[in-house]
Assembly symmetry: C5
Homo-oligomer: 354 residues x 5
């Protein structure tokens, strides 16, 4: 699981707009893809060089330019030049340790967010930094590796879905952010199901392994919250932004995003509380069980203690111990012992000790 | 009890205005009912097809169009067309996992809230998604199943209650929301009574089952809070909304709603704290009881330990043990033992150990 | 002690402006009292019927119309008609379960607050719903039972205290609210004294009963906070209200009210924390005491265990046990035992085990 | 230590502007002192009667009129009359239970704050109510007893310090409040040092007395916070106040006050947390130590239990116990016992039980 | 580690603009350095006396005047005079105990912040007070000792980095603050790595030393938060400041600072929670392990107790104990004992006691 914060000694004091890749390089080659569409036409292809892209800028159609791999400084430099972006933006794109944020510039809106993906095979959560730059006609997205969660949006574009084909880059950006947040909710859903399953097992048979599970779920939830919280803040800032690049009709969609991420936050809070409660239940059950055992054993011992004492008394070798010489002494001793044990049992029972 | 959050893999990335039923389908057929009234006239009937409804739109009277069953995409599509609603609204109506919200549109206000109902027979709480669309003359409500909690409002309309018959769709919407929130309060009332009963039992006889009860009440309260909290936020937004569809005179009623839901929130907070306190009391009582038992038993054992030791001494087979041969040794041993036990008891008593 | 929240099945869905008494009826007959005064004149009498009151409305003097008993719908109806109040106000007056609030209307300000009274004989706190309606010349107060805490204000009016006789209904309302909040502070004072007394006893001799006391004080504090918190919110709203019915010169007094209720809140918070600390101290002291006992007893037992073992060895009946036949064996055994015990004691002491 | 809140039965319902001393009278006679200065002149003397003061009002110089003892109603009345203050101000001055506050009036600003002083001999903290009234040319301060913490300010005035001699009553008031808050910080500093010393001792040798220390420091911190928190709120209000009595150039100083009191608050929060942590460490250390002892003792006992059992076996008096009659039986028994004990020790060691 | 708050008795009541060094003097001589640059020229040298500096004020180039050592009152006085600063600024510079803050003056902006540095050799964190004064052409920085963290900025200036050489004092100030905050993040990174390493060890083998580590990390985190929190507040105020000294284009950088310090805060919060969780895990693991040991030992003892009792019975010396005289009695006793032990073991196993 990713570290909460990371800054190497080398990164300190570097100029914020210096193009320097910060993070772990995950792929070798940078992959460029372009989808260009309007209500009627659709063009989709892999692009070889960045230099092919600027021409789309002049077209009225919406162009979605996706870049997988953010470690190549030259490409970043070229994009900055072609689109006339401030260098600070490209530096932010290349910094995978940055906090989710939205920033308005003269000619674009820059958005960065963590993209989480549940890998169903390994059951691990993959984190990836996603950056979006919204300009008037072109939406540029930057991802760390090739696979992404955006296939449904591409499908919607391909299938001529009316809404997305008739809207601008703002709606396209919304659609992508919507999927990112849907994935947050999905991941919480999956985790939530595990937590609720744990609960049932917990009441059936409390095992030591439960602690490990609770702890690992807690850590996972912590990690999710750490990513969701600043994203929520970012979405809030986005929905309050009054930019010409965001059409009035898209506003309601950003409100929807806010609702979704609020739901994610609240659910993660609820599961957090449930985990705490589970820990308490576990402790209570375990300690109550141990107490029962110890109580049983102690009572058991206590009953034998006076009996052993009596036997000890008649094991002494005094010359004169009158009881030793009566014929029925031995049997009387047994009777006394049994009566004593029964009295003690009754007494303990009466005081509700077992 | 419903899951806190639910998102299936399939739901990710679907366009937000795609009409897709998300949730568990609870009834087969969609049921349509219309109540149309003004100060003087009242017309109430079940409607066969949605196409009968739009005609009410032109009448000056207030029309309450209620739809039970939200899984039928065709009907939703038709309503959207007839009333000229944005498709996003209908998509929200069909999503039972959505968070309570209020959203203003050009021609209507959309409200969604969770409707909770205490089923007195099964003692379970039923959750249902309720959506309201307020237009100028028509109020449309969407429910998941047939039964609802709105009968008192229908009664008020039928009984010619002056206020409701003279007001518009805004007041009608208020009346419905008021009932929904009254039910929140009622459910908390019922739960609160159980919690207070538990308290009395707790002090009389602390049993293991108390933990289970506290835990289940805690879960129930958690569930209530999870539904009430976003509803409260929604009501707040509603009362701050400056829409032409909400008459100035209705404003004071929405303030009332706010007061009620605040009361619900505060009470649930209080009961939450009480449950925490009860858990503490339970633990304290249980552990204090166990401590008393263990202390008693330990003291009991400790008294016999030196006595058994003495008996052991005179059970040894040394050739020369002078004490063994005095005539009264055995009786002296008993006396010493008794004196020793009494001294220990006095010592323990003096140090307030029992 | 009153329930935190109460809503009966019957109350759900009733129109908010329906005049229906909600609560427990505490007296049979409604009692009406009028005090009418200006700087020079004072008239004070019990009134038989509500119809006598409206005439005061036209006088320039300040009239304080007090009503004990709020269950009579007819009287409420008549007041609403005479003073031209909205019916919602009267419905709020009759609802003892409502949350403290302040609401501005066209012709009046409606205030409701919980009046708490420390009954010095029974040591119980009585709760009563108090409603005030401030109009230009008349202040109407509604109480549930006859006795109240307002006698000092009546005295101030009777004794020609300059300020109150020269001010309007707003200052009179302030004076009444001031007393209500003074009583909050007084009740917290009384409770605080008990808590501080408990503290001293706690350190002298921790008893089980302390838990019960702490718990009952905690509950009481919880109850107070539950009533004070919304009152505080209400006072805040009141002091921010820009109404013609509240003279500018009275503003400073409402700020004073705010200070007082803030003080009440902060003190209750402090006592809450003190109670939590006391619980911790109690637990620590008790468990530390138990630990000492158990440690002592365990060490005591442990010392005898090897001694008893030695005695056991020489109690065996082997044909050949050379030690048994030396003359001083028995005495040597005693010596060995004593030395062993001393060594163990020294060892335990050295490791600071007792 | 002062009570958190105090309201006697008698104080309830008294008119807020009634001149009534509330608190504990600490000195017999009221002491009046006047310092009058401008950039060039300085006059300092004790004044016999209040009537000497008003004349300073007309002078352009700054007059600091200090009154020790606030129980004398006549003097308060006279001041109110001479300076034309509202009676409410004087009533506030005489109420030592009031919450720190700042209030703007037409002709003055009224400030009240708790003055805390560390008494280095008794190591106790003295609390005193301090009231300041800022008018154009005169600053009036009211204290409960004679000694105060303001000597450094008097020194600065006497030593012709430029800034204070050239400024008005507002800067003088700032200088006094600055000292009050400096004392808060000093008291927290002193307490903080004790807490940090405790920490070191805690790790060296955890004793029961630590609990008492932690508890008493916690109480003291609680008490400080209770006084600092409303003072902080008051300072905030003061720095936001737009009054003609506060020169623009003094604004930056009130910001400084805010910084200081924020620092005090944050430090008290930090120490609070440290105390909580210390309690946890104490508990952990103590219980871990106890556990070690109990484990040792239990293992010790457990090793002897089977040995004693074996001895018991050969202490039986059966006619036929073949082992008893072999020559080396006794020695074999010893060997078996020793081997058994060693095996058990190895087993326990291997499982890391000690 | 530095104290949370420090105020000596002597510091109370000193005039806030009195030039008095408060803190621990760390170097003997004050060191003055000047870097003067514009897009084309760069001049860097150590300065002997303060009097050389004012001449830079008139140049259009950006001058960074750095002063190491803040204890010399004369130098401060001279700077105040040369640059026409208010004396309060210099007093703030000389007070190392002050809280991070930003304050706007007529001719400058004053910023103070704590500079933290991870000393990689001693693994300790060094704290130093850093003050910045931004004027139109000159940036003055004050440090307590000679070494600093600003070398990368000097490098950027020397290497003709375009951005920094073309910007004003505001951007230079940003670059310095950026490094300070980068160091905060780096320190948290380093601490975070230790905490995550601890976690792995914790699960492998819980030792007592873990408590000490957790406690020391907690203390360190506490210390960081104590410094970061007010810095964050300061940065927020800075980014909201509308001063002519801060160019519009630098605004976006101050937003970046805010993001960074928010990230630092959130990460420190996360690690705080992780430490709490670790403590819980440690406790759970330790106590669960102890419980297992105690349970084992108790069961072990309990099995021998009835056996020892039986042996005791046949060790009695009664004249008539029939069993003693049967030939196989002794062997039967052994069998009975073994069967008893096995039954008990099966019973305990069945009830899942071990």
């Amino acid at each position: 699981m990713a570290r909460f914060i990371l800054k190497t000694k080398q990164e300190i004091g570097i100029s914020p707009d210096e193009l320097l890749f910060r993070g772990e390089q995950k792929i070798d080659n940078v992959l460029l893809r372009v989808i260009d569409f309007d209500a009627n036409n659709l063009e989709e292809n892999a692009v070889k060089t960045v230099s092919e892209v600027p021409k789309y800028q002049e077209k009225d159609s919406v162009t979605w330019f996706n870049i997988d791999g953010i470690h190549n400084t030259d490409i970043m430099q070229e994009i900055a030049k072609d689109f006339n972006f401030e260098q600070l933006i490209m530096a932010d794109v290349m910094n995978t340790h940055a906090r989710p944020k939205v920033q308005e510039y003269d000619n674009c809106i820059f958005i960065s967010i963590k993209m989480l993906r549940q890998d169903n095979e390994t059951d691990l959560i993959q984190v990836e930094n996603l950056s979006l730059i919204i300009t008037e006609n072109v939406l540029i997205t930057f991802q760390e590796i090739k696979g992404d969660v955006f296939e449904p949006v591409r499908e919607r574009i391909r299938k001529h879905k009316k809404r997305i084909r008739n809207s601008g880059t703002d709606y396209l950006a919304f659609a992508l952010l919507d999927i990112v947040i849907d994935n947050y909710i999905y991941i919480i859903s999956v985790l939530g199901e595990k937590i609720e399953t744990l609960e049932e097992n917990l009441l059936l048979e409390p095992k030591q392994s439960v602690i490990d599970d609770i702890n690992s779920y807690k850590r996972e939830l912590n990690f999710l919250r750490k990513n969701i919280k600043p994203a929520r803040e970012m979405i809030l800032n986005l929905s309050k932004m009054e930019s010409e690049l965001i059409a009035y009709s898209t506003d309601v969609h950003f409100k929807e995003l806010q609702d979704n991420i609020n739901q994610a936050t609240e659910s993660s809070d609820s599961y957090r509380e449930i985990l705490s409660d589970q820990l308490t239940i576990y402790h209570t059950t375990i300690s109550s069980k141990l107490n029962d055992i110890m109580k049983f054993l102690t009572i058991f011992s206590v009953i034998f203690i006076p009996l052993t004492f009596i036997a000890g008394i008649y094991g002494t070798n005094f010359d004169v111990v009158p009881e030793l010489h009566y014929e029925y002494s031995y049997f009387i001793m047994w009777m006394v012992m049994i009566i004593l044990a029964v009295i003690m049992l009754i007494y303990f029972k009466k005081r509700k000790w077992f």
